[in-house]
Subunit: 218 residues, 2 copies
């Protein structure tokens, strides 16, 4: 019984790690669609979101099955509930990639982003994908130090997010209100994506140590 | 044993309903602080957020205790896991009220919102508080019809959210980029608050019917 339980628990972690890779891919493609004004790529992300929602449902079902297999003791229960939370974070990361792709589609064939803003978003996209890939690695092989590292990696995203406001508020901003509204929302999507990746990593720390790291300001 | 379980389950629902009332209050005060440029009220919301985070932890702890009391069968497990999800949604609603309050504080003694935009935000604030209060009622007395009603109530919020973009994109918008950035983010905070209230209600439908209503587009 215990062995079957451990094996199913490993399976659930594997599902979450795969889901994490998929939402990393979704954000990579969404960013490429945004920067390259690439409609087919945006459509690919938009169509692909259903699959991410299904994976979340599957993970949640498997978590229930796992708990039903064995009356859960405190720690096992916490591990599985952490997995359920992580699945929710990952689904939301998929939604945020979807929002980026939809913004790219909405303005096509125009670019959503003014040319000189693109490098910032290229960087935010890169950081976002790295955070998700790192989180996938941590799910596969929980490592408290690497999980904590992810929190400081996310500071780079927060800095980029804040910097976008400086850029838009500057008298040199010549792109008007409509572009500022798009940039504000897009920067927020990337920043939230990073927050959810951090949240996934923090849950893995909790699974390993039994203690939740002090919350970062949401 | 079963009786103790049912009584604790009722207690958990009560905690969530109280938490829902508290995040409704937080959003009411945050909106008043925003519209009335009221710094002490903004500070009150900001200070009060810790309490909401504690309540979420308490609800999660109580959910665990409840599961430990009795080897959960499928339905009981789903009910408790739904409660854990709902606690997460409610904490996030508190965070969003906090974001509104912080925006009010950041621009004080200036108003964040141009005068003619205030009526829209007064309306968004009203809808937000009503959604949360309705969700509290549904937690206390789960009613599938009222929970579904909440989804259509949230359409009013989505309409207001969309309308803000029309207002900002209009050539009549004379408040510049900085105000547009603030309005964009604030409208997003209210819209997300409404989404989470809907999510809480949907989970209560699930608890009652055993079926999750078809997801709304996030």
């Amino acid at each position: 019984m215990r062995e079957a339980y451990q094996s199913k628990l490993g399976g659930l972690a594997g599902e979450l790690a795969d889901m994490c890779d998929i939402v990393a891919q979704a954000m990579r493609k969404a960013s490429d669609a945004l920067l390259g004004v690439d409609l087919p790529l945006a459509e690919e992300v938009i169509t692909g979101d259903d699959r991410i929602d299904q994976l979340r449902n599957q993970a949640e079902e498997d978590a229930f099955a796992l708990l039903a297999l064995q009356a859960p003791v405190a720690t096992d229960l916490r591990v599985v509930v952490s997995a359920i939370h992580a699945a929710g974070d990952l689904e939301r990361m998929g939604d945020l990639a979807l929002h980026v792709a939809k913004a790219a589609r909405r303005r096509h064939p125009e670019s959503v982003l003014p040319e000189e803003i693109k490098p910032y978003f290229a960087e935010m996209g890169k950081v976002a994908v790295e955070l998700a890939e790192k989180a996938a690695g941590i799910i596969r092989d929980p490592d408290v130090d690497r999980a904590r590292e992810l929190e400081s990696d996310d500071d780079a995203m927060d800095d980029l997010h804040r910097h976008m406001f400086t850029v838009m508020m500057s008298p040199k901003w010549t792109h008007g209100v409509a572009a500022a509204v798009d940039v504000t929302l897009l920067a927020r999507f990337y920043e939230r994506y990073g927050d959810h990746a951090v949240s996934v990593a923090r849950r893995m720390v909790y699974v390993v140590t039994g203690e939740m790291p002090a919350p970062t300001d949401a």
